[in-house]
């Protein structure tokens, strides 16, 4: 929804209905946690016993490795800098298209045979993109590792982008876009980014549009691959049942033949539009979905970590957050209300969302704005501030309890330019933040006058006393 990760192939492919056999207490609660996990890849210490090795292959490819031989399997996560922001104008959705094509035929293996081989070997292989990077996720059982790595090598180095497969994937993406155009969450998000980053690569839809996806040729797919897949913009993390020597060989095998440098289009830094704006997109749904946000400090700003703690107590911390308390717990106005900080490579935002019935959505948005203003003016109180810190430091190990989670966390650190030792330092950095810091940064962060709001639905002006 809001992290702007493009849909992988599985999304259009499984385009079906949502089976709502299960209802839960906390979509709203789970949401910020998941977002936090996705966005703040770096912010929790792992198990004390976890040892991060730095491996450099004979071919010069570096990776971080956490060896764990408890289970006969491993996970490899990697990224190439250069995501959908590299899509040429008029060909939005190119990176997303490529991410669905790498396992659709490679080397001299056609699409159907490639998929069968992946299944025969029980390889888990998927690709995805954000604005800034192109990601690969590879898991294999130890027994099949060599053969699985060969498939990965082919997918990375020699995707064929055959015509027939490309048309099939194009049809799936187009079908998903038709659906997305009627999905309030997606529309709210796309409109928000268009308003905030108009004219910049970040303002364009990551999955593209009907016209742009139709304009993408197989040559475009191959060209993206050629431009972005290289060694100098590659980051790799391996976790699980593999030794440093084995990983070293695997790295050369899979990535060694890639060109040294990518050919990336420069992407400029940008601040989200200021001045504040609300846009209503009419859609005939009973519940309006809103996204709100404004610019924030970049990841490397000295105040960023303080802003991260503030976000936790504002809307990133589930029930222990102000927005949840005011909008959901006290008034029953929403099931889901949350905020998050999203540092991208060339911009950073503080953002969030809420979904409320049409006749009360304006009340929810007013409450959110008021709460943000209150925190900006008065700062957080000491209790909520300490609680937020205590959650962030105490829960850090929860992000390091599976191979894939460890790999994801470490890859995020690597991308942001931190060393493996950041994992050990991180909690101390949070503990050192004072209430005074928080008060100062709250004023700097919470620029509600610049708040951009997109609302999808049929919002009505609230009737007095209709707070439900």
């Amino acid at each position: 929804m809001t992290t702007r990760t493009s849909s992988r192939k599985s999304s259009p492919r499984t385009l079906a209905r949502e089976q709502d056999r299960i209802a839960g207490y906390g979509l709203a609660y789970a949401l910020p946690l998941i977002l936090a996990a996705l966005l703040f890849l770096s912010f929790n210490q792992p198990a004390a016993a976890m040892k991060i090795q730095t491996v450099k292959s004979p071919g010069g490819i570096e990776a971080w490795l956490v060896e764990d031989h408890s289970n006969p399997m491993m996970a490899l996560r990697f990224s190439f800098e250069g995501g959908s922001a590299q899509d040429p104008a008029g060909k939005e959705g190119l990176a997303n298209f490529v991410s669905s094509m790498l396992d659709e035929g490679a080397g001299d293996i056609d699409a159907a045979a490639f998929q069968e081989k992946l299944e025969d070997l029980a390889v888990r292989l998927s690709f995805s993109d954000t604005q800034d990077a192109f990601y690969g996720n590879f898991e294999t059982l130890t027994a099949n590792r060599n053969e699985a790595a060969e498939l990965l090598r082919l997918a990375i180095n020699s995707p064929t982008f055959e015509k027939d497969a490309a048309e099939r994937i194009r049809a799936q993406i187009l079908a998903s876009l038709v659906y997305a155009a009627k999905d309030p969450d997606r529309v709210a998000s796309n409109e928000w980014y268009a308003l905030a980053f108009g004219g910049h690569a970040y303002g364009r839809p990551t999955s593209g549009t009907d016209a742009s996806v139709k304009a993408i040729s197989t040559e475009d797919l191959a060209d993206y691959h050629k431009r972005v897949f290289a060694r100098s913009n590659l980051r790799v993390v391996a976790v699980g049942d593999i030794s440093a020597a084995e990983l070293s060989a695997l790295l050369d095998k899979v990535f060694g033949a890639l060109p040294e440098k990518p050919d990336l289009v420069p992407v400029s830094k940008i601040e989200p539009a200021t001045g504040g704006k609300t846009k209503i997109i009419e859609m005939d749904v009973p519940q309006s979905v809103a996204m709100f946000g404004f610019g924030a400090m970049p990841r490397k700003d000295p105040d960023f970590l303080t802003a991260f703690v503030l976000n936790q107590l504002i809307g990133g911390g589930g029930f222990a957050s102000r927005l949840m308390e005011e909008v959901r717990e006290k008034r029953g106005l929403a099931y889901s209300v949350y905020s998050y900080l999203q540092p991208m490579r060339n911009a950073s935002i503080f953002s969030g969302g809420v979904a409320t019935r049409n006749d009360a959505v304006q009340t929810s948005i007013d409450l959110i704005r008021q709460e943000l203003q209150k925190v900006a003016t008065d700062g957080p109180n000491e209790t909520e501030f300490e609680n937020a810190k205590s959650y962030l430091t105490g829960s850090y190990a929860l992000r390091f309890d599976t191979n894939v989670k460890i790999a994801t966390q470490l890859l995020g650190l690597m991308e942001e330019g931190y060393g493996p030792d950041y994992v050990e330092k991180r909690n101390a950095l949070i503990e050192a933040i004072t209430l005074e810091d928080a008060k100062r940064v709250a004023k700097r962060l919470l620029t509600t006058n610049d708040m951009i709001v997109t609302i999808v639905g049929k919002p009505e002006t609230p009737v007095a006393g209709s707070k439900g």
Binding site: L15, R17, Y25, M73, A111, A175, N387, A397
Partner: protein
Amino acid sequence: MVASLRTGFSFCLMVIASMFALTKSPTAAYAAPSITEFKLDNGMQVVVIPDSRSPVVTHMVWYKVGAADETKGVSGIAHFLEHLMFKSTENIPSGEFSKIVSRLGGQDNAFTGHDVTSYFQRISKDRLRKVMEMEADRMVNLKLADKEVLTERDVILEERRSRIENNPAAILDEQMDATLYLHHPYGVPVIGWEHEIAQLSRQNAIDFYKRYYAPNNAILVVAGDVTPEEVKKNAIETYGKLPANPAAPRAVRASDPPQRVARRVLLEDPRAGKASIHRDYLVPSYTTAAPLEAEALDLLAKIAADGPTSRLYKKLVMEEKVASSAGGSYMGSGLDSGKFSVYAVSADGTDLDKLEASLDSVLADIATNGVSQAELDRAKNGYVAEYIYENDNQASLARRYGWGLALGRSIEQIEGWPDEIRKVTLDDVKKAASTYIDARRSVTGILKPLKAPIAEATPDKSRS
């Protein structure tokens, strides 16, 4: 099996994914975690799954009750109570439960299904005792104020709007279930019907709570960096002190009469996207099937409908190009029955009759001619590998065992699953297809975009 049509992060998907992990367990050959199982004096079952890789634990309590145990007319009460369990007890002030867990560096949540209700915390291992105390406390000491009950009811109505009303595919799904299950309560949505949710009271919640929430109707699962001995000691000192309620176990539910006709529902909605067809068959579940029958259905689903190597995808999407996507799954985790589902999204220019004919021909071909040995082997390998992968995730393991036990399966049955899968023959798969892929056991749902804007579609209570 299922994807959300929404692009948001759906908690329910995580749970649904776990449903399919129900009976899936690694075999001893793959270093399965060594499970310890015991019972407290009050009848509460306990399972401990050691995993010392990270100093954290997953603590879950599963109640053997769900939405299908609700009294007719109070639909949604199981789920409503689940929300209210986070309010207050004699020892925990209103709304503090999750905040305490959070302060301790933990994450908590809960979910409700037709057959089970589950509460969990993920937290540092040295806080385990504290969350055990809190979970045991709310098993018997829940207090509810009218005000917080009414506010939470509004939250659930918003939840329903998010999950169902804002999503035509979810509306169709709800209508298909209501049609497939003529009499059995699986036809009522877990979250409840809107008009009944709007009437739920504090007393409804208390009645449900007093009836079903008791240690002898619950299962404790602890996975993570713990020893069975310490879990046992802590369990005796917390849950062990609670009184059993002999009346807690659920009653047998109403069952469906034999189905005699194929059923169809059509939803035309301006938000529908591309036209699509959905088909559900009423089939046995792991708890109702004859030996190897449910396993055969699992394999059938994988071969027929799971992913790009499946029959449906190859035929409809790759060869005939009548669908942009196609797939399906078997849901075998129901206490009283299972469901075999397939779907296809039409390609541009393909009419739905033609799409349905193609879909039917794929299924009929399997029922008549069976599947190949290569397909069966690939499907078996795939399942076994998934179970091994699951060993990497303590939370998944906790769900696997919790769900299985809550449905009355034994640890041996849960762990014997890969071996059972291996026993399934080509004939078993063919028989499952020819027996159960029968239009008279099915409901077909059609979702079509409606081009013309419909007249004011404001919710009209009188229609429901």
